[in-house]
Amino acid sequence: MCETCGCGEGATTTVTDLGVPRAHEDTREHEHDHARQHHHDHDTHDSGAQTVTLEERVLAKNDLLADRNRERLAALGAVAVNVMGSPGAGKTALLERTVRELGPRTPLAVVEGDQETLLDAKRIAAAGGRVVQVNTGAGCHLDAAMLAEALDRLAPSRGALVLVENVGNLVCPALFDLGARTAAVLSSVTEGADKPLKYPHMFRAADAVVLTKIDILPYVDFDADQFIANARKVHPGIEVLRLSSVTGEGLDQWFAWLDRARLAAA
């Protein structure tokens, strides 16, 4: 029904567990129906109209579930990091590299969010990561209920860093608290320096902006200083990281940023 981004009615979410790394036999699949419509039959006999004041926040339920996710992770000394950005920003590539290099010294788990396919989860699993894939069907973002279900499957270990790759989208994920401790928005040097101005809600929602693919800066028309100035115009004080998941340049700062988030919870 929605021609803007493909959202449709009767959306179903699927959570697929790719199993504990190296336990390749155990590729359990698990589906849950999340059709969120409630049906009520009403044999109505009018008894007059009346106004009922609700004053209820529309996202109250999501925010409550997000708080529960945060508390559940905090009880384990664990934290989740919401990794957002447009499709192709380099989210999965950065998480692969993070799994390979940070994984050996830090308990890590990954939640992958996409409309369809297990492609990203397979990449993380191939890198040796513990991963669960959430397929949102027609949905354009992850929400707190989806993360709760992913955490049920993941059962993160004590002190774990749970990296949540949101659906590639610079709009919708900004509005839905997942229960992450911190959020990063990735933006690549091929995307244009004006992105923070065009998508201010996303850049305001993130605690850090990560400029990716800096290894190809010499070949593209991208003004990194202008991009950072734009990000700071929308969100003064936002932390800025620059890196390349291919050459490894700047990864130390990303790992240090993740470590700070994790240690702050310990």
Binding site: E9, D46, D143, F176
Partner: protein, 112 residues
């Protein structure tokens, strides 16, 4: 198009709060800095409410204006633009109103 999920949350919240009511009108408050598009919510409302106690209900949206406070000079002023600059030159503006996303009230006909 997060407005679909937003509209589904509205239907869910109302049917949970008032499980026995037939809803004839829904009054929302949507702030101009909330990141939620009113036309998109209106577009989603009909199809989303179909088959629920909100089917056929009238949707009324009150849009509230934004207000910001400058972290630099302390000035407060109305503002509907996330890219605004304070008269003092600072862009460090804290949003103090306009991010509302509320179900203010509903009009119901109870069945007996």
């Amino acid at each position: 198009m997060h407005e679909l999920a937003i509209t589904q949350s509205i239907v869910e919240a109302v049917t949970q709060r008032l499980p026995d009511a037939q809803v004839t009108r829904v009054c929302l408050v949507i702030g101009k800095l909330s990141g939620v598009s009113v036309p998109s919510v209106e577009f989603c409302f009909g199809p989303t409410t179909e088959g629920t106690a909100l089917a056929g209900a009238e949707l009324q949206v009150e849009q509230t204006g934004g207000r910001v406070r400058c972290r630099h000079c302390g000035d407060e002023f109305p503002c509907d633009d996330l890219l605004a600059v304070c008269a003092c030159g600072s862009v460090e503006l804290e949003v103090i109103a306009g991010q509302e996303l509320l179900i203010r009230s509903v009009e119901v006909r109870n069945h007996v």
